[in-house]
């Protein structure tokens, strides 16, 4: 049933953050049921057997929810199938004999650490700057004590699907993190629980985003096209109007 696929993987090798990298091409035999990461595991096992340095790549959950499996496959973050992370990408999307080009995410705010692994801690600092809500300590509140309109809950849930993978930044020709930041702002901003920081949050998170050196959104839409969780550009509009409202409300950060 599942025939072997003979592939060539042209992958970015870079020793460390300071070194300058280059592409290396390796042959690998995969089968169509493997995930892309499993194919890389096979390739790495071969490299280890030859006493060569395995390719460094990030992975954790391998079920499409943690967002660590960052790499650009044939020019697309997380590869060719839309709405899918690299770990959920199956080799059946490729053909026997293909040469597959694998590169790290490219953005100045995501420096390459080694091979395919990049430093995405800028996202953590954006979250720390304002991705939280205030709640009273003490007893756990009643489950449904705060009524939430269904439409708003839906918008919030959709934004909350963002796994912080950084594919939006990787896809953006401007290296902008506005899709990510806006998803986080919209996730909390649509809910009554997020009301307390509704002016502080957009100002603090956008300021941190700018400070990290991400680019400015030109509304190109590459992020939306590549996001594995299909986060929408409407979130960026939400962020823009929340930010403008917050700035002109006069509330200090």
């Amino acid at each position: 049933m599942s025939a072997d696929m003979n592939l060539k993987i042209k992958v970015w090798r870079q020793k460390n953050n300071k070194a300058s990298g280059s592409f290396e091409t390796y042959p690998v035999v995969a089968n169509e049921h493997m995930s892309f990461l499993e194919m890389l595991d096979v390739l790495n096992e071969g490299l280890i057997n030859q006493k060569k340095e395995p390719i460094a790549f990030e992975h954790d959950c391998r079920e499409g929810i943690c967002g660590t499996c960052s790499m650009v496959i044939n020019g697309q973050p997380h590869g060719p199938s839309s709405g899918t992370t690299t770990c959920q990408l199956h080799m059946r999307h490729f053909k026997d004999g293909d040469i597959i080009v694998v590169e790290p995410y490219r953005a100045s705010a995501f420096p390459v650490l080694k091979d395919l692994a990049v430093d995405r801690s800028a996202f953590d600092r954006i979250i720390q700057a304002g991705g939280y809500i205030s709640v009273n300590a003490g007893q756990a509140p009643d489950g449904n004590a705060i009524p939430i309109e269904k439409g708003r809950a839906g918008q919030s849930f959709e934004a909350a699907a963002c796994i912080g993978c950084g594919a939006c930044v990787a896809a953006c020709p401007n290296g902008s993190a506005m899709l990510f930041t806006s998803a986080k702002i919209a996730h909390l901003g649509h809910l009554p629980q997020g009301e307390v920081e509704s002016n502080k949050r957009p100002q603090a998170m956008v300021a941190q985003m700018d400070k990290e050196g991400f680019g400015m959104c030109s509304n190109i839409g590459a992020c939306e096209a590549e996001c594995p969780k299909e986060i929408k550009l409407e979130n960026i509009a939400f962020m823009n109007r929340s930010y403008l409202k917050a700035v002109f409300s006069g509330e200090e950060v």
Binding site: V101, D210, N219, V247
Partner: protein
Amino acid sequence: MKWIITFFSSSIGKKLLMSLTGLFLILFLVVHLIGNLQLLKDDGGEAFNTYAYMMTHNPLIKIVAYGNYFFIILHAFVGISIALYNKGAKGQKYAVSNSNKTTWASKNMALLGTLILAFILIHMGDFWFKMKFTDELGMKSYEGFPEVRDLYTRVSTAFSQLWIVVVYLIGMMVLSFHLWHGFQSAFQTLGLNHKKYTPLIKSVGKAYAILIPLGFAVIPIWYFLFKTM
């Protein structure tokens, strides 16, 4: 006052400037086109020359005109500085790029804009500068007006030359691409994106991006074909 500086140096603040100045220029182009269409009247230039006189002498219009120059410069300056910053923020480019889901115009706004700026300079050098700062234009008199400069004859001489007509057509094509992306983008920047009205904004934007440059382009073509002896 510190908040204003913070705001205009933030990413969203800069984009707000682009959006508002862009929308102002979009309105300006409509007014400019309506005026220019006077050139198609077969009245030996009376309608157009008196219109040009009014545009350069009415104090209210003069204020708006200076605002307009300022907004073009601001839009161009902020636009180019955003583009340069973004290039640095991207850093190294991909060896393989796959971008079939995005429009070419959206990724080349600064290139398109710079070409528009070059066009504006040629255009103003040819007509506006010659009218305001040189004596190259003859005078004409019409009822109810003092002597006015004969910009109409200047326009028809210019548009009898093929290369000028070609420059204008290229300029309008570039403008069309800039607006194809820019029109709807300006609303997204303002935070206006909703399934209720965004499809309408996008359709109006596409219609605008085709019809307005086309309207401008008709004039040089018309003059070249029908007014050149």
